[in-house]
């Protein structure tokens, strides 16, 4: 299959994308506002995502205050509670995590890591951000709309989502939510086309697929999945909007609400659930795969060792991506769908655990016999492994259909998905920010502040969500503003209060992080050219931070994979991807 020649001067085909200078950006507007440079778009995406994410964080405090000290805070009525959890969940999953991993890291890293000047469709890329921005504005507007935001839960299950018993159901809340989601998906599709096609077309000479860093593999696979999965949410949202505004009955059966016959009839709420989870399950991996990729690179760089089993890591990403389209109904074991589906979906779900477990092993085998620098990115990577492992293992409970029966819709589920797709990816986001901040800004983030931030976040998050599993095991349902019940011992209230204190502490630590970013931007230590001595391409630009167009006069040529760390006989403990150095001249080549 391969056609490798040792001589760097011959046989290099010209790059597929003609090496044209990217659109110019001179003034303030074309640079910062309507920028077509992926690096600025990345910052716009990340900034917006973090801003709306802070709203979701504050909502989580309010949720926890209600659960930890029920009855103390009068302003949190049942309605408000449902509005809080719905907005919290939806913002975190879609508007923060999806946007920051693909729109933020994707935009920043793809062109740099594959050796392109920019995304292939820069104008569409800019539009993508602005449509996303509009989606966020519409979402935020629902807080101020009559009736407030929707309280239907982030799953938006009909019929309740569009009926009067649910906050925002017959007012503005649900309409704005659906419109915002539709906008988000349109915006994402524009961006996603860019991420996918840039990886397909604009890799520089020598950048074969198997030389791409795992970060790119993760983001690329997640993008392809998102392009296939988001249309399901799109269709479901449009159909529900029709049901709500135009009186169709796609999802609405004949029903009697508060003693009154409604004019709906014949539709099925289960159809919505299928569409929703056909999006919803891949969504978990849309968030997880970029995290998998990024964390692999963080571990390799900071343990000065090639990622163990690179090929297996790539295959696992692809296999997980493909399989995650046939497991969606594990979210519907107790939905009333045909019980025979349980056999199929439990089996596929547990099969996915195997490639996922292999990834965990390979991260740890990378640490094994490495040269582990306990930098902040490495610490966050370790935190990721612990929390992801924990959340992944509890996934085996919930995927195994019959075990899910008592646990579904309890706090056990809430604890599980927070570990696996809340805490773990956020650990990676932080690790990635500490890792690439020097590239973006030219300065290091403060290590001292970062250490406090890491330890409080990691230990705190574990203290929130590990005990929460046991609250669920007792039988406490999720989405309950007040959990007192005959079977719940009083001690659970104490535990809940403890969890709330931990949650507020973790929340406060995030403010420390924001302070660190602001302070380091102005005062941080100058980073120099390649502070982590990383081999991948993004650190090899002529200038750091990279300029407009990334590569100066000539695109780089790639001669090796991204993981040549501690190669025996090599003069340094890393060899950059664009370093043509001859292996033959070193001793003890394996």
């Amino acid at each position: 299959m391969s056609s490798v020649s040792e001589d760097p001067d011959t046989g290099i085909p010209p790059a597929e994308v003609p090496d044209l200078p990217p659109p110019h950006a001179h003034g303030f507007w074309s640079r910062w506002v309507f920028s077509q440079d992926a690096k600025y778009i990345a910052l716009q995406y990340s900034g917006t995502a973090i801003a709306i994410g802070l709203v979701a964080l504050v909502l989580s405090w309010l949720i926890r205050m209600q659960l930890g000290f029920p009855g103390v805070f009068d302003f949190i009525s049942a309605e408000a509670y449902y509005q809080f959890i719905t907005m919290h969940g939806m913002i975190m999953v879609v508007y923060l995590l999806t946007a920051i991993f693909l729109g933020g890291f994707g935009n920043y890293l793809i062109p740099l890591m594959v050796g392109a000047r920019d995304m292939v469709f820069p104008f569409v890329n800019m539009l993508s951000f602005w449509v996303y921005f509009l989606a966020v504005v519409v979402l935020a507007a629902s807080f101020f709309a009559p009736g407030g935001p929707t309280g239907a839960g982030w799953t938006l299950y009909p019929p309740q989502a569009i009926l009067s018993g649910t906050p925002g159901g017959t007012q503005w809340g649900i309409v704005l939510m659906l419109v915002s989601l539709i906008l988000f998906i349109i915006g994402f599709t524009m961006g996603g086309l860019n991420y996918a096609v840039t990886v397909l077309q604009a890799r520089t000479r020598g950048m074969t697929l198997m030389r791409m860093p795992l970060t790119i593999w993760g983001i690329f696979t997640a993008t392809v999945m998102a392009l296939l999965a988001f249309p399901a949410l799109f269709v479901a949202s449009v159909m529900m909007l029709f049901d709500r505004l135009l009186g169709t009955s796609f999802f609405m059966p004949a029903l009697v609400e508060m003693g009154e016959q409604l004019s709906y009839g014949g539709g099925s709420p289960i159809v919505f659930q299928h569409l929703f989870w056909f999006f919803g399950h891949p969504e978990v991996y849309i968030v997880a795969l970029p995290a998998f990729g990024i964390v692999s690179d963080l571990i390799a760089v900071h343990a000065r060792k090639n990622i163990f089993g690179y090929r297996m890591m790539v295959w696992a990403i692809v296999i997980i991506g493909a399989l995650s389209f046939i497991v969606w109904a594990h979210h519907m074991y107790v939905s009333g769908m045909h019980p025979y589906f349980g056999f199929f979906f439990a089996t596929t779900t547990l099969i996915i655990a195997v490639p996922t477990a292999l990834k965990v092993y390979n991260w740890i085998l990378t640490l094994w016999r490495g040269d582990i620098h306990l930098t902040l990115p490495m610490l966050f990577a370790l935190g990721f492994i612990v929390t992801f492992l924990n959340g992944g293992l509890t996934g085996l409970f919930l995927g195994n259909v019959v075990v899910d029966v008592p646990l579904s819709d309890t706090m056990f589920v809430v604890a599980h998905f927070h570990m696996v797709m809340g805490v773990a990816p956020i650990m990676v986001i932080y690790g990635a920010i500490y890792h690439w901040f020097p590239l973006i800004s030219g300065r290091m983030l403060s290590h001292r502040l970062g250490l406090i931030h890491f330890w409080v976040t990691f230990i705190g998050a574990y203290a929130i969500f590990f005990p929460m599993h046991y609250v669920g095991l007792v039988g406490v349902p999720r989405r309950y503003p007040d959990i007192s019940a005959s079977f719940v011992p009083d001690s659970v209230a104490t535990l809940n209060a403890f969890i709330t204190v931990a949650a507020l502490t973790v929340g406060a630590a995030q403010m420390l992080f924001l302070f660190n970013v602001a302070w380091s931007l102005a005062r941080g230590r100058k980073a120099g050219h390649n502070p982590w001595r990383a081999a991948s391409l993004e650190w090899q630009t002529p200038e750091v931070p990279p300029r407009h167009g990334n590569w100066g006069d000539e695109l780089p040529v790639v001669y090796r994979w991204a993981y040549d760390y501690s190669v025996p006989g090599a003069p340094r403990d890393y060899i950059a991807q664009d370093d043509p150095g001859h292996r033959a001249s070193w001793s003890h080549v394996p």
């Binding site: 096609v197 392809v224 392009l227 296939l228 269709v235 009839g265 493909a322 389209f325 090796r560 994979w561």
Partner: protein, 230 residues
């Protein structure tokens, strides 16, 4: 969900074959040096790959809509659609439009500037006529008691033809942009015309598939296949 699963399986097969050809079984740490393999799939231009990816997204959207129809069909209140005749006339216009653009591609290849312009004009006009026919079909259905919320089949017809129509509008905008480039000669416009043509064919195929699903032929055909197989 069988339609969309079939679609995803198709995409997966394409993707995995491509990945395999790209050498995902290699050991990259052993393969140091310059590489002669071309990076892009089949060495094709960016626009074409971009369109290909977009068609996968749009195809997925319609596959999902189709899946929603087949799932909804399983419920008691479903009954067969009576489509107004103008739908069939519209479908013929859509096919004509596809043919016209194909002729435009041939004209561009021959370097026939005036031919190219008139075929593009014909393609755009017949496409606009198709949209008009769809509008008439909506009006007709509303008159004959098949309003938006009247029957589930009608609801789906409005929904799907609406989504399809929006895709057509987008296509017309793109075609208009291509037409402005005609002044620079048939050679300059040829690649873009080719892309539009692919998109036009896609719109035709999607529409026929959607009609087949909505009218129940698709499920009849599936039932027949199942009967033959078992």
């Amino acid at each position: 969900m069988s339609i969309v699963l079939g679609f995803v399986a198709l995409v997966a097969v394409i993707a995995l074959t491509w990945l395999w050809r790209q050498g995902v079984a290699e050991r990259p740490w052993l393969e140091t040096g310059a590489v002669t393999r071309s990076p892009s799939p089949g060495g094709q231009p960016t626009g074409r790959t971009g369109l290909g990816v977009f068609l996968i997204v749009a195809g997925g959207l319609f596959a999902l809509a189709g899946s929603a129809v087949t799932m909804r069909m399983g419920y008691a209140d479903w009954f067969e659609m009576r489509l107004p005749r103008v739908v069939w006339a519209g479908t013929a216009l859509l096919a004509l439009s596809s043919l016209a653009l194909q002729a435009a591609v041939f004209a561009a290849r021959r370097g026939d500037g005036p031919g190219l312009a008139s075929w593009i004009g014909a393609g755009a006009a017949s496409m606009a006529a198709f949209l008009l026919a769809q509008g008439l079909a909506w009006a007709r259905m509303a008159e004959t008691g098949q309003g938006l919320a009247a029957t589930p089949g009608a609801s789906f017809f409005y929904l799907i033809s609406g989504l399809h129509g929006l895709h057509i509008l987008g296509g017309l905008v793109a075609l208009a942009r291509v037409a402005t480039r005609l002044r620079r000669g048939p050679g300059a416009a040829a690649p873009a015309v080719a892309l539009c043509t692919i998109y036009w064919h896609f719109l035709l195929i999607v529409w026929i598939a959607m009609l087949a699903i909505l009218t129940g032929w698709a499920s009849d055909a599936a039932a027949l296949c199942r009967a033959i197989l078992s």
